[in-house]
Symmetry: C2
Subunit: 475 residues, 2 copies
């Protein structure tokens, strides 16, 4: 006990971490019923390394204890604040006039949400030592573990909470590795275990040999021609192409095929979402100018864009770069350059880590009885649903998991949210808990909640409550 | 000349055709700047066979002469009035309060539009002889030719107009066969030729061996599992299944596979459009009841449904069955039962006609210098875009057509409308006019203009003007 007391004193004196209540976010309306915090957690005091977080308390009018979920975006190098919190499932999104619009499908309706700018060099996170911007998967996982342990010291009331890890895209690398460290940590003697309950991976990069193969997907969505699909099948596929990229060994064959893919897909179609329109206005000023025919077109597009507003990203960039917003968020002006970006920080990531196969680690987590949710927006050509589904099936087969449900539709209220299949533990274990769930989200982008708020919340509700997705319309 | 005069007299006395101006459609607003007509054209006076048409004059404030386009829906047995005119590209659509909403992307902005309920037994068309409801492709084409020739006698001012044929789905059978008869007719001596300029086929059934193969499409859209795709590839595909259906020879293998497909796709997902929500209200009364949470859900769905309102079909059914609407449309109360349906008329179609391969006929039309547009909504699993594209490529290869553009995006104003490729005449002919265009429509259903009014109008504009689709954003 005395030792713990001294450790705490030591920690308080040697770190620059601080837990800070956000009093008011610029543009936020006044009657917000939950608290928000943001600031830095020092993960390495010696090098002055600090990860920025934005913490949103659960929005609940019951006494029921809500769990704690840590969210990470991918990249590597992209911001969980910009994507996860402000574009996807946080409580607010910047509107056209700069005010914050309440997201009625915010994930804090289900859980306390902890958004972390990770690793060092992403978003508002920083290091005092420039060499710390050379980073890789192993260091990321270790730093994230350190973040969790230190954050729980700042917010000890969550130490006993059910704890969930969730993320998307390259977080298919981050989350399983972090989960593995947590499982290991929990096995140590004389520690307070972190109650890791499950992990969720959205459109995740898990294995370069499978996850990124997009030829069939692009072909069947009309984005590449029969001839180009043939070249992808015979000359160079996405895995080969990306492997050449990460190992800096370019072949002419691959370059030719993928120049062709790029030409056919076109500059105005994003691989993130084959159906998303482009934003026709880059600033409010320009937008206000759109009168007459052009204004009419823009308005028609804005209507079509109900499934993902293509101009939201620009508004978030503007919002998070407003000085008063950064002040309200307790962004360090000493350690951090004032300009915030979605993905373009000083981080230099060890690129060949992209080539790691995370499937064995995900399997190991399932063996440790950690349930895994793999979900996938069905309009994403970066990590197509077909590939994540192949991985889910392979894992189930390798681990001899028992199918718990047939492949079929799941429901978000009264509409089909997508397709799903789930698997339980093997018969040997005499335990049919759901250990692996695969779910697609119908009409959704690479960033699922961006286009599909309501479906994403239903998915998240099932995830944190450990219950199956609804397989029939809800009354 | 005398002969023609007597023919005309004969025609007038022996037919029940009449050209009737629609004075006012119930719910229509008052300042409509174009005329609408509807009524019957007798195609066989002896059997009392009459096809119902709805004719919408071009909405144009220029003196420029607009062409004439005849539109046919598919089935076989579905209504061009319900689908084509009121759901897709006519000037009006029934709103929630029963009034007619102006369609700002109506195809009559580009052409005089002639919607025909064909063949006999469809929609408001009728026969006095019940045996006439046994019908097939050959008879359909002949009756449609008779319709055109007789209609032009009623509306002689269009005899010299540029004439286009367009339709979708099973009209992939109707239109090429009708076009072939027109080409033949035009070669006869001493006749007034019909100025057929080009044909357009949307999501067309052209060849059962190719058009309907949906396994890869459903798989890559998440709607069927890896295992079921495997079964489609090894046990029974859509072509085999439909061929068994049309020849009444059922195999257990095919039944098993397609029961499985049906289970996986799910009852609330339409093969017409994998992304379309279901309509949550079957009547206005029910809709008005939707308060509280349910009302909120419905409102969210209505917003999502900007690309296709799933409740529109129900409103059209109600509208076209209103007595005063049928009266305004000059529907025969003597010959036609008062109930109008989208597809469920007394027609009994020779089902093995589904198995006919129309590709050679389409090729023949191209050889006759009739340009062909094959377009396809990219969310349709009935006739997937991938299959229509294969057919377009096969035709181009067989006819040795020269590619005029690379496969790539086309634009509807400032947004990507879909992907396209076009082909011209062979080098031998020293003529590089566009003879074959393939185009997908991004986000569109089996009925393209239903979900994608603006894109469809751009496509139609290019079609009737014989100009390439825009390959860059428009200023």
């Amino acid at each position: 006990m005395a030792l713990r007391f001294f450790s705490l004193i030591f920690f308080l004196f040697c770190s620059n971490s601080w837990a800070e209540l956000i009093h008011f976010l610029p543009g936020q309306h006044k009657n917000v019923s939950f608290n928000q915090y943001s600031g830095y957690i020092v993960t390495d005091a010696r090098h002055g390394r600090a990860l920025f977080y934005y913490f949103v308390e659960a929005d609940s009018n019951t006494d029921e204890l809500k769990p704690l979920t840590l969210w990470l975006n991918g990249g590597p190098g992209c911001s969980s604040l910009g994507f996860g919190a402000f574009m996807e499932h946080g409580p607010f999104q910047p509107g056209e006039d700069g005010t914050l619009i309440k997201n009625e499908y915010s994930w804090n309706l289900e859980s306390n949400m902890l958004y972390v700018e990770s690793p060092i060099g992403v978003g508002f996170s920083y290091s005092n030592t420039s060499k710390n911007y050379l980073w890789n998967d192993t260091q990321t996982a270790q730093d994230n573990l350190m973040f969790i342990l230190n954050w729980l010291e700042e917010f000890p009331q969550y130490k006993e909470s059910d704890f969930f890890l969730a993320g998307e895209s390259y977080a298919g690398h981050y989350i399983p590795q972090l989960a593995a460290l947590l499982v290991e940590h929990n096995k140590k003697p004389n520690i307070e275990p972190v109650n890791l309950k499950a992990i969720a991976l959205g459109n995740p990069l898990l294995d370069l040999d499978i996850s990124v193969l997009a030829g069939d997907f692009l072909w069947s969505h009309g984005a590449i021609s029969d001839e180009t699909l043939f070249l992808e099948k015979t000359v160079c596929n996405d895995s080969k192409y990306l492997r050449e990229y990460v190992h800096d060994k370019w072949s002419e064959g691959c370059n030719d095929v993928f120049n062709r893919v790029e030409d056919e897909v076109g500059v105005d179609v994003g691989l993130d979402d084959l159906l998303l329109p482009t934003c026709l206005s880059s600033s409010y000023a320009e937008q206000l100018k759109l009168k007459g025919k052009l204004g009419k077109i823009h308005s028609a597009v804005a209507k079509r864009a109900k499934k993902g507003d293509p101009c939201l990203e620009g508004r978030i960039l503007t919002y998070l770069n407003r000085r008063e917003v950064q002040k309200a968020l307790h962004v360090s002006t000493t350690h951090h350059p004032s300009h915030w970006a979605f993905c373009e920080g000083p981080l230099v990531y060890q690129e060949d880590n992209l080539d790691m196969n995370l499937i064995p680690l995900v399997s190991d987590l399932i063996k440790e009885a950690i349930p895994v949710l793999l979900y996938n927006g069905d309009q994403d050509a970066k990590i197509p649903l077909t590939q994540t589904r192949i991985i889910a099936n392979n894992i189930a087969k390798d681990l001899k998991l028992v199918p718990l449900t047939e492949y079929g539709t799941w429901y978000d209220n009264k509409q089909v949210g997508g397709w799903t299949k789930s698997f339980g533990a093997t018969e040997d274990r005499k335990n049919y808990a759901t250990y692996l769930t695969f779910a697609t989200v119908r009409g959704a982008a690479h960033e699922v909640p961006f286009t599909s708020h309501s479906q994403a919340l239903t998915l998240f509700h099932s995830f944190v409550n450990g219950i199956p997705l609804p397989r029939a319309p809800q009354n």
